[in-house]
């Protein structure tokens, strides 16, 4: 019975998206209530999947009843349920936030339809165990995000969306070409089957070429530094809830998760790819941080900071050691929480004051206490101030780097952390402290639902360090880490659990 849970992760958001588009135009309140219901049930289901994977191990679901190399299978292992919890937690809080925020835009039902489709795409990517299926759901997530970036239909938004779309299409075609090569080589599309076949063959050059294609493709989606050009335009242009989703989870589900899954479990991690990933991660970390320092637009600053933090995650995962992967995944979760919190804060500021320019703000805490304090929590957490969650994950990454004898990477990570603190202090000083500007005396705090989701997210930031408490850590992080560390056993696990 438990395995019937799996298709629901895709079917619920898809079904509700179709229903919202069918009925949402006529019934006024329907899109709001229904989408919130859908994301809430998804969140509950994802929490349910955690004990399920612990009890039953890896669950393989055969779609249509066909045995995997012939049909498509869905896989629920610990890494999957870890990602599902992250994605659906953020999605649920963001939909709560959108109830009030999206009043500013027209055609709310289109927003919710696209939002739910994007969610379906991300859940589909995480759940699937099939290469081509991963590509299809990646396209669903990507195409809906292209449209959502342009949702405001102003000049900057359209332009950013075009740029994002061109980059995204290049990435998709690289990925598809890689899949075609892999299919020709192994004659299979199932990830476990590919991994099993590759283990028997010795064909270094093809695997190397396919790895390069995948690093370019998924690296573009994850906005690692040589491929990052679209992100600082696209993420700020979207409506704030979407920025939160894009920076918070989309680049991770489409980029980091897919990279990790393919390299650890399908192609096999080699020393070469590991060092490529670490170098890319470090460059992203440094460059993202340096560029963020010079920004005056609050959302652009957050976007550059996303690049920098993704660098941390990739550095951690790229190390390939147990502690490194654990730290990377933990930072992924934390970043999803505090970056969505920060983008929601920036949305609240824009909602009340109508500007995104840091130089035009000042003293906002006195007028908007909830936004001000939650933003303070988010900023301190992302810059790694103890005892907030970001501190622990960054500490773990540094420790893991030292443990693996990558002293240069460790010291760079520490330095970038200080850089991060610098630019978040700038945000705090310019936006929230100091004197209130005369032009801003009339502003009010944002409506209730927006406050609610910001408060919940900042609470998670404060208590996020508790995930490292042994009992929680064992169930939530260690099992997910084990999936990646024992990457080569993936095929055995999948075929084993089908019998």
């Amino acid at each position: 019975m438990g395995s019937n849970l799996l298709p629901l992760f895709v079917a619920i958001p898809l079904g509700s998206a179709f229903l919202v588009s069918l009925l949402g135009k006529k019934l006024r309140g329907f899109p709001d209530t229904f989408s919130n219901l859908a994301t809430f049930s998804l969140f509950t289901l994802s929490l349910l999947s955690l004990p399920l994977t612990k009890q039953l191990g890896t669950i393989v679901y055969k779609v249509g009843g066909w045995i995997p190399p012939i049909g498509i299978c869905m896989v629920l292992d610990s890494l999957t349920s870890f990602m599902l919890v992250t994605i659906n937690l953020v999605a649920f809080l963001v939909t709560i936030y959108s109830i009030n925020y999206m009043e500013k835009y027209t055609a709310k039902w289109k927003f919710y339809t696209l939002f739910l489709l994007m969610l379906a795409g991300m859940n589909g990517i995480v759940v699937t165990g099939d290469m081509f299926n991963l590509f299809v759901f990646l396209e669903i997530g990507a195409i809906s995000s292209y449209a959502l970036v342009a949702f405001g239909v102003e000049q900057e938004e359209l332009e950013a969306s075009f740029k994002y779309m061109v980059m995204g299409s290049i990435a998709s075609s690289f990925i598809l070409l890689g899949i075609a090569l892999l299919y020709s080589y192994t004659s299979s599309l199932n990830m476990a089957d590919i991994s099993r076949t590759l283990a028997q063959k010795v064909g270094g050059r093809l695997v190397f070429f396919v790895s390069a294609l995948f690093i370019m493709g998924f690296g573009l989606k994850a906005a690692l530094v040589p491929f990052h050009a679209w992100l600082p335009d696209a993420h700020p242009s979207a409506p704030a809830p979407i920025s939160a989703m894009l920076s918070g989870v989309l680049i991770k589900a489409l980029g980091v998760y897919a990279l990790a899954r393919i390299f650890f479990n399908v192609l096999g991690m080699t020393a070469k790819t590991s060092s490529i990933l670490m170098v890319l991660g470090t460059i992203s970390m440094v460059l993202g941080g340096l560029l963020a320092l010079g920004q005056e637009d609050i959302k652009r600053l957050f976007a550059y900071s996303s690049i920098s933090q993704i660098g941390y995650v990739v550095l951690g995962i790229g190390m390939g050691t147990t502690l490194g992967i654990l730290a990377g995944l933990f930072h992924l979760f934390n970043h999803a929480v505090f970056k969505s919190l920060l983008f929601l804060n920036s949305g609240s500021i824009e909602y009340s004051t109508g500007t995104r320019d840091l130089r035009k703000m000042g003293g906002l805490t006195s007028k908007m206490p909830v936004t001000g304090y939650s933003c303070l929590v988010g900023s301190m957490s992302i810059s790694g101030i103890p005892p907030l969650s970001g501190f622990w994950s960054k500490l773990l990454i540094v420790v893991a780097a030292i443990q693996a004898k990558h002293f240069i990477f460790a010291s760079i990570a520490v330095l970038v952390s200080i850089l991060t603190l610098a630019y978040y202090l700038k945000v705090q000083r310019l936006a929230f402290f100091g004197e209130l500007r005369s032009s801003l005396t009339g502003i009010k705090e944002v409506p209730l639902t927006m406050k609610l989701s910001m408060i919940i997210l900042s609470l998670i930031c404060i208590f996020g360090g508790l995930i490292l408490v042994p009992g929680v850590q064992k169930n939530f992080l260690n099992l997910a880490t084990a999936v990646l560390v024992n990457g080569n056993n993936y095929a055995q696990t999948i075929f084993g659990s089908m019998k």
């Binding site: 195409i143 449209a147 359209l158 299409s169 290049i170």
Partner: protein, 111 residues
């Protein structure tokens, strides 16, 4: 090497996307890249002297081409169409706002 010719087509598309400064040219480049990838899939599934994978009555068929890549290409074509439709819509909105397709004149964002 027929595969390599197909990849040359792919590269022409990539060149067009990265070098040209006109929105419509970029869209055309994306189209060419999609054609190339679809063709590559179809080439991968071809079998010498194969038949189309459609059965007819009272007939024993041994040598058929691979139906799986064809199914995948079908999906990929649809995805390509979806991308094209959306990107043309965005390009037309940009034209409406700026009055040009030239990317050098469309620079509100710093990059």
């Amino acid at each position: 090497m027929i595969y390599l010719m197909c990849l040359i087509l792919f590269c022409i598309g990539i060149y067009c996307i990265l070098v040209k400064k006109n929105l419509i040219k970029i869209i055309i480049g994306i189209g060419i890249v999609e054609y190339a990838v679809n063709l590559f899939f179809a080439l991968v599934g071809y079998r010498v002297h194969g038949r189309a994978p459609i059965l007819a009555k009272d007939q024993v068929v041994q040598n058929m081409v691979d139906p799986l890549p064809q199914a995948l290409v079908l999906t990929a074509i649809v995805i390509g169409l979806a991308v094209t439709a959306l990107i043309v819509a965005i390009a037309m909105r940009i034209y409406e706002k700026y009055g040009t397709f030239d990317i050098t004149k469309i620079k509100k964002l710093k990059g």
